[in-house]
C-alpha cells in the first residue's frame, strides 16, 4: 500500500468530521480541548481547512495567471526581488544603527539619549514579537495558499 493509499487514522477522521461540522456538541468540545494541547492535531485541521478553501476555488484560470507564474519562476524576477528587498532591509538596519550611534556619540542631554534608546528598543521588541507570533501561527493559517 503506497503512502497515498494508507487508511486515515482515527485522529484524521475525527479532524475531518470536525472540519465538516459533523461532530455533536460534546464531541466537538472534546476535540477543541485536544486542539489546545496537541499542536499536530491543529496542523492537521489547518491542512483540511486549506483543502476546503482550495476546493471552493476550482475555476478555469485566467490567461494572465500563467504569465504571472512564469514571471515568478524566472531567476531575474524572483531573485531580483529578493535581492532588492534584502538590500533595502540591510540599508534600513544600517541607517537605524548609524542613527543610534550618532545619537549616543552626540553631546545631547542624557535624558534624550535614554528616551530615544528606550523608544528604539520598544520598536524592536514589538517587531520581534510580531515576527514570532506570525511564525507560530503561520502553520495553522490555511488562507496563505489562496491563489490570486
Amino acid at each position: 500500500m503506497s503512502p497515498e493509499e494508507r487508511a486515515p487514522t482515527r485522529d484524521e477522521l475525527l479532524a475531518m468530521a470536525y472540519a465538516d461540522g459533523e461532530l455533536d456538541d460534546a464531541a466537538a468540545r472534546e476535540f477543541e480541548a485536544r486542539l489546545e494541547r496537541e499542536p499536530a492535531l491543529g496542523r492537521e485541521l489547518a491542512e483540511l481547512r486549506q483543502l476546503a478553501v482550495l476546493a471552493r476555488r476550482i475555476t478555469p484560470t485566467e490567461p494572465a495567471d500563467h504569465e504571472w507564474r512564469r514571471l515568478e519562476a524566472e531567476w531575474l524576477h524572483g531573485g531580483g526581488q529578493k535581492l532588492g528587498l534584502t538590500l533595502l532591509a540591510v540599508s534600513a538596519l544600517g541607517l537605524f544603527a548609524a542613527l543610534m550611534w550618532l545619537l549616543f556619540a552626540s553631546a545631547l542631554p542624557i535624558a534624550i539619549k535614554v528616551f530615544a534608546g528606550a523608544g528604539a528598543a520598544g520598536m524592536l521588541l514589538l517587531l520581534v514579537l510580531a515576527i514570532r507570533a506570525r511564525r507560530r501561527t503561520l502553520p495553522y493559517d490555511p488562507y496563505t495558499q489562496v491563489k490570486r
Binding site: 461540522g21 526581488q81 528587498l85 489562496v146
Partner: protein, 106 residues
C-alpha cells in the same frame, strides 16, 4: 452549506429563518510586499500581491460566516453579501454576511 446571493434557493423551500450570520477578517501583507506594490504603482496594471490579499480575506470571512451558520444548524445562507470596512491602513478588511436558513428540498 449552500451560499446564495438571492433570497431563496432554487429547488428548495425555506422552512425556517435562523437569523443573521457574519464573518469578518482584517489581513495585512508584510512590508516587503507593500514595497513591491509601490513599485507597481509607477507602471500601472494589476498588483497581484494585493489581489491575493483580497482573495485570502474573502475566503477567511466566508469560512467564519459558514462556521456561524453551521453552529445554528443552517442548511444555507441566503441574501449573502460582502462588505468592506476601513480600520487599518495597508490592511484588507472584509465582512461576509447573510441570513442563515433551514431548507426543505423540493
Amino acid at each position: 452549506m449552500i451560499l446564495a446571493t438571492t433570497d431563496s434557493v432554487h429547488g428548495a423551500e425555506v422552512i425556517e429563518t435562523l437569523g443573521l450570520v457574519c464573518g469578518s477578517t482584517v489581513r495585512a501583507r508584510h512590508i516587503g510586499k507593500d514595497v513591491q506594490a509601490v513599485m507597481q504603482n509607477f507602471v500601472g496594471g494589476e498588483i497581484p500581491h494585493y489581489t491575493k490579499l483580497l482573495g485570502e480575506a474573502r475566503e477567511q470571512a466566508l469560512d467564519r460566516m459558514i462556521d456561524q451558520a453551521r453552529a445554528l444548524g443552517a442548511d444555507a445562507v441566503v441574501t449573502m453579501r460582502f462588505s468592506t470596512a476601513e480600520i487599518a491602513t495597508g490592511a484588507c478588511e472584509l465582512v461576509a454576511y447573510g441570513t442563515a436558513v433551514k431548507l426543505r428540498r423540493g
